[in-house]
Structures are given as structure tokens and as C-alpha cells.
Symmetry: C2
Subunit: 512 residues, 2 copies
């Protein structure tokens, strides 16, 4: 929001996409239909804990950008101003003229997994088909729009799992990555946050923004010769039915909670229902037990206790374990206490603490020649970096228990899994294969569907719809895959036909 317009439109790309596009133009292959696949290579590994699944996010903002991004007069003028090291124009007039007419994404088709769905590595999540040069130019923005949101939606889903159904509030804006915090907040809402404090994003997606108050409000009253109690009263007078009081500005248990109780009693006397308190420092498990005890004793056994301060999925898990163990010693019912907790999750969610980038890639996999698709391949030292060539579908296979057991990458021409016995190959490790019998397949769903055609999104789901998809998909996972630490592996497999094609092309490339 603070940079000039050149950063928002189609120049939101890497320079080499433009120089390559001009090379294709000079070679006359710029309008050849080409196919690029978006995949990620591995689940986030946070160090002490690892994701066993990801939640796909960022698709709708990408497609919205594709609807409008194009080379207009301003962009072409900037490109025309670029010069080579010998002072000549880097981009020549014929190429710029071509961009002026064809430099848009209206000829690009996108098939993709729906936003909000659970996804796994190495299976394509989006397949881009269209003119070679524009597909190339799209690559950077596509990666940028999908990688970070998928990373954050994944983290949010983990936090949501740790919170066991209690409200999760996204509070990361202040330390989030500049404007990227908006995409992060949106992704968090898809992945598992119930609300965000980010006002702009909340309004843009139609979710009520949430917050409490800051220490500064109490400090302001204190500086003016009043105290915490007066600050609480002023806030309660404004928001008598939504009053969550931050109790740790002076001393949580000796000042904050007693003052909050005083104000809650006043609210109640006036017919209002106090909403809660927030703890933002110290031992949150211990303090929440002691605060609950004071609140219970005062007859406020139902007000919420919002926890914040460096929370993530492991911190929440640890707090809940500690409460379960310790609360009874103080005469506090752990079930009641944990049922009234809410979690404000900031920095560690918006930055995906421990694993700051999803390793998604967008690779050329096929190019048309003489009316037929020619698979493209990169021979790499790293097997995980050898792309899966050609036109494909991804099938999600569900077993008779109702659990999703595998994502099967097949050629577009192969029949639905379950119609016959399938030999499945590990996507990386040579020789690792298994047989999927027909009886093991209760259901097989095509994950890739058309989402962008004729320059227009084919659908624009609401956040609520994306959340439903996520919840349904997470519910289909084996509990072992959902584990926060050391999760069980989900199967992503290649069919025999895909595997054979990959092998043949690698051999040809090495041989040639």
C-alpha cells in the first residue's frame, strides 16, 4: 500500500520472466501452448514438530490478480526504459508491441485444487495452460500468491487443532511481513483462525474484526492520575456486552483480576453479561488457573479467559496439559477452565514460526509441438526436484473407514482409481511401490477442477465455504496424520503410467 503502482500490477514478477519471454518471442515460440504445474516439495518442518498435511490457500487472490494484471501503457513505458550494459534498450519494440496486445492472462487456463482443501507434497495443486511467454511471466506471482498463504493456513490449522475447538484469534499484524500480513490474516481465517484483529482484512472477507484493549489504555489512565479500575470502567461503559479486560498491566492476580471482577459486578448489576479477561504475560497456565479461581469465587464461572503472548500450537498444547494437571490442586475444574479459554495468536502464526517459507515450485511440464504435447523435464541431482511430466489428474482415494488414504497422480487419460487394480509408486524413492486393490478404494475424487477461463474466475468462494472444505478434509485424515508432532505419512503416489513416462524422459535427457 505504500509502494508505487508499478509494484501491484503485472510487474509483480521476476525480471528473468520478462527476459525469457522476449527470448521466446524472438524464437517465435512465445504463443506455443505450454503447461506449468504448481507443487510443493515437503511439509513444513518446524524443527521440534512437523506438519503432516497442508491447507491450500491464496488461490482466489491469485485469480483476482490475473483478471486485471496486464501490460498497460505505464508498464510498457517502464520496460522500454530498461537498458542493457551497453546502453541499448533491453526490450525491443516488436516485443513490447506484442505485450501491449497479448500481455494479459485471458488466454491462460487454470485447473486447481479448491482453496481451503487439505493438500500434500509433490501432487500438482494447480495446472496452468496457455501461451508459453505469459505462463512464464505468471510463474513468480503465482508462487508468491500461493506459497505464503498455504504456509499460514497450514499453521492456522495446527493452532486450531491444538485449541480443540475453542476460539482462535489472529493477532499478528504488528510483526507480520508488511502488506503480506493481509494475505496472512486471510489465510489464517481459512486455515483455522476464527477471527482476526486486522480490520481491513476482516471487512474485505466479511468476518467481524476482534480485539480487546492494550496496556496503553491502562497506562493512559494511570498517567492522568487515575488507575486500572477507572480504565476498566471506561472501557466497560463503551462496550458493556463485549467487555474483555486486559489484566496484566500492573499485577495480574493482585490488581488486574480483582479490578476486572469489580467492573464485572457493576456490569452485571446493570443487566450486562461480562465477556472476559485477557492474560498477556507470565505463566499463562498458572495465571489462568488462579484467575479462574478468583472469577469462579466471584460468580463469573463463565466469562472467557483470552490467552496471548507467543502462542503457537505447541504452547497451547502445553498450557492445556499443565492446566489439566494443576487446576485440580487449586480447586479449579480443568474442563470448565479449558472450555472458556480463547487464544490470541500473533507472531508465531503470521510468520509460521520455525518454517518461514513453503517450498512450492511452478515448473514447465509440457509444451505443444505440431499439435501434440511434448513433456518437458529437468534432470536434477535431487530426485524430489524432478518434475512429474505431462497432463495429469490428481485423485484423492478414500477407504472404507472413510479416511483419505492417498493422493494418486495419474495421467489425464487414465481411468478412475478403483475401476481396476493399480500399481502405485513412491514419488521419489525408486523401487518403492505398492498395489492398490479395487476393494481398498471406497471413493476417488478428482481434485483438479477448472477455476480460471477466458480471463475470469469460475467461482469465488466465501471464507465460510473454504473453512468448511478445510474442516471436512481434516476430518477425513487419519488421526496419525493430524498429530502435531512426528505425524504419520500420507501417501502421495504415482501411477505406473506416470512413473514410466518420468523414467523414459530422464533417460532420454541424460542420454542426449
Amino acid at each position: 500500500m505504500t509502494t508505487s503502482d508499478s509494484t501491484a500490477g503485472i510487474l509483480f514478477t521476476d525480471q528473468y520472466q520478462l527476459t525469457m519471454a522476449q527470448t521466446y518471442f524472438r524464437e517465435g515460440i512465445h504463443e506455443r501452448p505450454a503447461q506449468f504445474d504448481y507443487t510443493f516439495r515437503s511439509y513444513p518442518d518446524y524443527g521440534t514438530h512437523q506438519a503432516g498435511y497442508c491447507v491450500f490457500a491464496g488461490l482466489d487472490p491469485l485469480l483476482a490478480w490475473m483478471e486485471t494484471a496486464h501490460f498497460g501503457a505505464a508498464e510498457l513505458e517502464l520496460l522500454a526504459s530498461q537498458t542493457t550494459s551497453t546502453g541499448e534498450p533491453r526490450f525491443d519494440r516488436p516485443f513490447l508491441d506484442w505485450l501491449a496486445t497479448a500481455g494479459h492472462f485471458r488466454d491462460i487456463e487454470v485447473r486447481a485444487v479448491a482453496e481451503g482443501r487439505v493438500v500434500h507434497p509433490l501432487a500438482p495443486l494447480a495446472i496452468i495452460t496457455g501461451p508459453m511467454a505469459m505462463g512464464q511471466i505468471l510463474e513468480t506471482s503465482l508462487l508468491n500468491h500461493l506459497n505464503y498463504p498455504t504456509l499460514i493456513a497450514t499453521k492456522a490449522s495446527r493452532v486450531h487443532e491444538a485449541a480443540r475447538g475453542r476460539t482462535v484469534l489472529e493477532f499478528g499484524m504488528r510483526r507480520g511481513p508488511a502488506e503480506g500480513t493481509n494475505a496472512g490474516a486471510r489465510a489464517a481465517l481459512i486455515g483455522g483462525a476464527d477471527f482476526t484483529s486486522n480490520v481491513g482484512v476482516s471487512h474485505s472477507v466479511g468476518v467481524d474484526p476482534k480485539g480487546t484493549h492494550a496496556h496503553s489504555m491502562v497506562q493512559a489512565f494511570m498517567a492522568l492520575g487515575q488507575g486500572e479500575l477507572e480504565a476498566f470502567r471506561a472501557f466497560a461503559a463503551c462496550y458493556p456486552d463485549d467487555c474483555i479486560l486486559l489484566v496484566d498491566t500492573i499485577n495480574t492476580l493482585e490488581s488486574g483480576v480483582p479490578n476486572a471482577i469489580t467492573v464485572f459486578e457493576e456490569l452485571q448489576a446493570n443487566g450486562h453479561r461480562p465477556a472476559g479477561i485477557r492474560l498477556d504475560s507470565g505463566d499463562l497456565a498458572y495465571l489462568s488457573i488462579q484467575a479462574a479461581k478468583q472469577l469462579d469465587d466471584a460468580g463469573f464461572g463463565d466469562v472467557a479467559i483470552v490467552l496471548s503472548s507467543n502462542l503457537d500450537e505447541l504452547a497451547i498444547w502445553q498450557i492445556l496439559s499443565q492446566i489439566e494437571e494443576e487446576a485440580p490442586r487449586y480447586g479449579v475444574d480443568p474442563a470448565n477452565l479449558t472450555s472458556r479459554l480463547m487464544y490470541g495468536v500473533g507472531t508465531r502464526l503470521i510468520t509460521s514460526q520455525g518454517h518461514a517459507a513453503l517450498d512450492g515450485v511452478c515448473k514447465l511440464v509440457a509444451i505443444e509441438d505440431g499439435g501434440t504435447w511434448k513433456p518437458a523435464i529437468k534432470v536434477s541431482d535431487s530426485p524430489a526436484k524432478v518434475p512429474i511430466p505431462g497432463l495429469k489428474q490428481v485423485w484423492r482415494v478414500t477407504d472404507s473407514r472413510g479416511y483419505a488414504t492417498a493422493d494418486v497422480v495419474a495421467t489425464a487419460a487414465e481411468p478412475r482409481p478403483g475401476e481396476q487394480q493399480l500399481v502405485l509408486h513412491h514419488p521419489i524413492r525408486e523401487g518403492v511401490q505398492r498395489t492398490l486393490e479395487q476393494a481398498e478404494v471406497a471413493e476417488a475424487e478428482e481434485l483438479l477442477r477448472p477455476v480460471f477461463h477466458n480471463g475470469t474466475r469460475l467461482e469465488s468462494p466465501t471464507i465460510a465455504e473454504m473453512r468448511e472444505r478445510r474442516a471436512a478434509d481434516v476430518g477425513l485424515l487419519d488421526p496419525g496424520v493430524r498429530r502435531l508432532v512426528n505425524p504419520h505419512f500420507y501417501h502421495v503416489s504415482l501411477t505406473q503410467e506416470i512413473k514410466d513416462l518420468q523414467r523414459r524422459l530422464v533417460e532420454e535427457a541424460r542420454g542426449g
Copy 2:
């Protein structure tokens, strides 16, 4: 760029800033002059290595945003649509009417350290003065605009140090944090990257965008029945004087480098000067030695070798060490080789690998009452979280060796360090103090200067100017502070007067 307008303007803030502002409004203290300080608490700690200084970035974009952000009709309509849990409007009409007239930053004054300068924890980097409610609303956006860019500029400076003056290219867009990657690329340019691949940002700041080409270009030619050599030739035909060829699509030493040499010979025969090759996988140290050997033997002892693939300051340091040790064994001059290296640094720079968020805070420190400033304080369990109250200046003290030795936080009224003996206190640890003699102070510079007044930036420095500041400031640091691993501590100190004020207020707050 993909979210609606509500995310870009003044609603780029946390909800609780708005609810607190309304509370101040109801209490009649919304226009009280108040002061907020921006500081960060600790240097980034990347785990195996730590920063000994930071580079301040993000200020100009923040001030540019402040020039235009305000509550217009659209924003007020959105706020008017918010309702409480009992269905009433959350924000009442008098408050919204006040926002309609006073909901801007034209009455806010900002004094700050100049962007690009080296900065240290706990000393204020920006001081905000203005109407209480608008200062509060500004907090989130200020933190967001400064924290992440400062983090990235800091990482870039470290990469720049590791690269020993050789060119650093910022390549992180594809895995950067959505739109935040723009702020990150700009910060990288300030902190130490020479160029970025981000086209939009390059044009917005007037730096030439840089790039090479991708594997996909070679793959496209291969899929069409041609090979790497033909791909290289096509690229070289387009960019004969800027031709950097990516040599690892098939086999770096057996295919990529030999083909590059063929093309370089053709370029040279036509009067052009080949620019370089890029290595993007494998053992970059070993491969660069072997590639240099082949290039040297072919008479291309001066073309650049661009390295990329998960680089950061430690990886670069390690590669250089390995080259110095190994190159002579293969008959390659390590000094020549390292002098022609360039570094494409992507994910690990744009995400500040290992430390994904700067812990910057913006705290209320004073509020006016009856014509005098009343210091505000938050009593915290954590000493580092006790803000330094009141009106302040930060002095950077340089010793007779020309090294910056301390940043001294003083009250605004205190004399310049060096004019008298000063007792300096550790900002956190009680009882840790030292005496700064007059003779130890060769120079004392005021770091905080007015940067925003009457709704307008007082200056808008170029990237080149900010880079010069950074280079000059880094040059003033003791080499121990610049160490990439386990750096020596730089002194940030409080004067006796500040320390006394802090102590008195904590006691008053605890007592009351």
C-alpha cells in the same frame, strides 16, 4: 494488490486501536497530546548465529502511508456496520463524526532515526507525538511498516558482509510473504542487496532489475527437440552483452558449462563480452571451482559466476572458506574465483531465515495533563518490557578511534554527552553501570530528527542515500560487533536522569 481497498488505507490497523480510540473519545481524552516510542527489544538471533546490530528500514513507506491514510466515507461506513454482541452499533455517531474530521495523521509529529542507519535495541528509533486517539490508531501500522523491513535490511547487511563487497542479488519474491515481498525487496536494497529480481520494486525505487534465466527455458527447447546449446544461443542472441547462462539443467560440468563456453566463444567472435554463468544446485563451492577451471582454460577468466540455492550469510561464508581451501588443489586461483562470484539470495533473506520477526514495540510513554507531560509506564515481570518513560533524545557516541561505542538514551533536556562526565546504566540489568568520561567522547550525534510534520514527510531519501548511511554506520562499528557469529555487544545505555525517572515511576505504580 489482491485484496479490496479496505485493506490498504487507515483500516490497516488492529481492531482494538479503534475500540480504545472510542473509549478515549467518550472520556474526552482523545485529543490529549500523547507520546509513543518505537523500539525493538533484541537483535535477531538466528539460532546458530546472531545479529550484533540492525539496519533501520521501512520509515519512508510508513510516512508515505501516513500522508494519505484517513477515515473517508468508505472506512466510516464499514465501521458503522460493525455491531456488538447485542446487535447495537459498536461505534456511535459522535465518534464516527469526530473521525470524519480528525481521523487523519496531520496532527502527528514524528521524530525518528534516518532510514538505513544502524540501530540497536531498547533505544527509541521513532517517537510519535500527537492526539492520543490517532497515535493509538497509528500504532499497528507503524509497527507493521517498521518491524519486517528492519528485520530484512538487517539480514541483507549480514549477507552483504559475508559477500565481501561482491554483488548480492535479492531473488526471494517467489517464496516471500505475499505482497510483503515488495517491502522486503526494498529493505534488502537498503540493507545490502545491490539489485533485486522484483521488477515492480526495482522501478519504484529506481534500481535496475536483475535476473538470469530459469531451467524452464532450457526445458522448453529440449521439449521442442532442441537442446541446452540452442537455448543458450537463443538467449545470447537476445542479450549478447548481458548474457548469464544457467548451467545446471542437465549436468553442470559435462553439459552446462561446456555449452556456455561454446556460446561465449560465439559471442566473443561477434565482439561481445560474455557476462557469466549461474550455478543453482549441488555443491556450489566445488562446482564453482570446476566451472572456473573450465572457463579459465577457455580464456574466460573474467566472466561472473552467480551462485544461488538456499544462500544466506553462513552459506556464503562457508562457500568462500571451502573455495580458499580447495581451489588451489585444482589449479584455480581462489582470489580470482572469489572476486568474480555473485550471490543470488532468495528465501533465506526475504524470510529472515531463523528469526522471522523483529520484536519491535510501540509504547505509550507520556501523556499531557494540565500543560505538562506525565510519563506513562507499564510494570512488567520482564525488565526488558518496562518502557523508558518521558521525552528523550538518543545520542550516538563515537570514541577517538572513530568507532561508535554507545547509544545513550537521555532526557530531552540533558546536555550533549562529552560536555560532562556521565554515569550510564544498563537498560535492563539493575546495578550495572559505568562512567563515561568526557575524554572518551570524540563525537556525539543526535539520532532522532523531525521526519513528519503537518501531514507531510520532511524528506524522502533515495535508496542510494540510505545505502550510504548504512555503509557509513556499519563502517563505524567495532569489528567485533559486525561478526556474523557470536558478535560483541554494543552498548545501549540510560543516563542517570532517565534511570531515576524509570525507577521512581515503577515504585509509584507498584505502590499505588
